[in-house]
């Protein structure tokens, strides 16, 4: 049994006084940086999209909507994402057969207006 006593972390605490803090001040100091493989907001490239609807079917929260504004032959596709509902699982990216969907490292969506949460991709 080792000898016990109070104040075992005193030296470590004093040492920390001369070290850089592990935290940084976030408020008003620019954007957060995340890892390269971090799953952020999804991106949509409509050139290859065949409007199969697999992404919408697998989305757990129904946040993603691919809307065809044109006719069946002359497609005018657009993707609408509600980032308030999105849980950033990126299952839609996995489900997409044509690789139209990718994810970015964009994670900062805070807003005071609820309508701003619905974005067109």
């Amino acid at each position: 049994m080792k000898k016990t006593g109070p104040g075992r972390i005193t030296f470590r605490a004093i040492k920390n006084l001369f070290k850089k803090p592990a935290t940084t001040s976030y408020a008003g100091k620019g954007k957060p940086c995340v890892e390269k493989k971090y799953r952020g907001r999804i991106c949509y490239d409509k050139t290859d999209c065949i409007n199969c609807g697999l992404c919408m079917r697998d989305c757990p929260t129904g946040a993603l909507k691919i809307i065809n504004e044109g006719t069946k032959e002359d497609k005018k596709l657009k993707a609408v994402l509600n980032v308030g509902h999105c849980i950033f699982c990126c299952q839609c990216v996995d489900s997409c057969m044509k690789k139209c969907l990718t994810y970015s490292q964009d994670i900062d969506f805070a807003t005071t207006n609820k309508a701003d949460l619905t974005v067109e991709l």
Binding site: T4, G5, P6, A13, E35, K37
Partner: protein, 408 residues
Amino acid sequence: MSENISNNNKIVLPIGPQHPSLDEPGRFDITLEGEKVVNAVVGVGYNHRGLEKVCESKNYIQDLYIIERVCGICSHSHSTAFCMAVEELAGVTVPQRAEYIRVVVAELERLHSHLLWLGVACHEIGFDTMFMYTWRDREKVLDVLATVGGNRVNYGINTIGGVRRDFNETINSEILKTVDSLEEDIKRYLEIAMTETTLISRLKSKGKLSHEDALKYGAVGPVARAAGIAIDIRVTEPYGAYKEIPVNVITDTNEDVYGRTAVRILEMQESINIIRYCINNMPEGTLTVKVPRRIPAGEVIVRVEAPRGEDIHYLRSNGTDIPDRVRVRAPTEANWHGMKHMLKGGNLADVPITIAAIDPCYSCTDRAIVISSEKNTEVMDWRGLRRYGIDWYKKQNIDLTSLKIKEV
């Protein structure tokens, strides 16, 4: 206050639903005689989310992400259990490489969960410096998990039939580097836990749950292992890659909070060994196997060792792409039953650390309950509840009738 103090000088102290020592809403009515706890009433049910019902209305792939969000900390354990259940029903075998990746993530998750617990426990006993240090070191694990999975807590690495992301050389070396630096930290924690007098005096012989009682109340995980019960699903009923990986069960004979702390710290060391073994012996191969969308009818029970203990998933399928019944039994539910026993006889100062020592996860545990007692009870739907609320406030001379709430 008058209703809280009865005639014989007993005070009923409400801890919760909102209290600084609770991470989530839960309620503990502690009856005090001076500083001594003479009785405790454990109340859960403040955090019901209807997860199981939601799962029964969505398809298997959607369910995976809902199941992953049962618990913020042991998310991977829940999703592994669900995946294993679906794979079992579909009758597919997951590639070996995927199994190994699942194990590495599971052990990284155990590291971050135990570090989180250590911090919370230190905070409960007023040792905020250790709390900050452990959480600082936990960031290393979270950074690695973000690189591996793409998120800090809900990694989303599992998919039905395998894993979604592969490991490569850079990730392997990053994991090994993190694990090496964590090993140093863990050694330090162990030394502090064994030598710091104030820490020991707050942990030793608090929240006693003896070997017999642990068996009686059906404790699982570190709580049971601290009482000397060598129960660990990774060893007693190995699943996935654990069939090939050597795992030691860490037990302790202290039967108290101190034992639970020691078990958790030593388990972190064991997790590090497992991670090293997996990285060095990872087989090559594919990541996923094709699983049909419609799962054949049948039912299955899967057990997984989550950081908090044994996690049980029950799944019944009716042949469609939507499950018929999903049941999740989080580890906390098994440990709740001994809580009253652990709290009784202690001091008020021991209550927060005793509650924290089982690493409770309130919202993972809460399911819908219908209380049927002798008294006049009734079951209300949302509208009835709203009407009741308006009537109740009317009696207090507050008129809420004009308030517009969206009808559900």
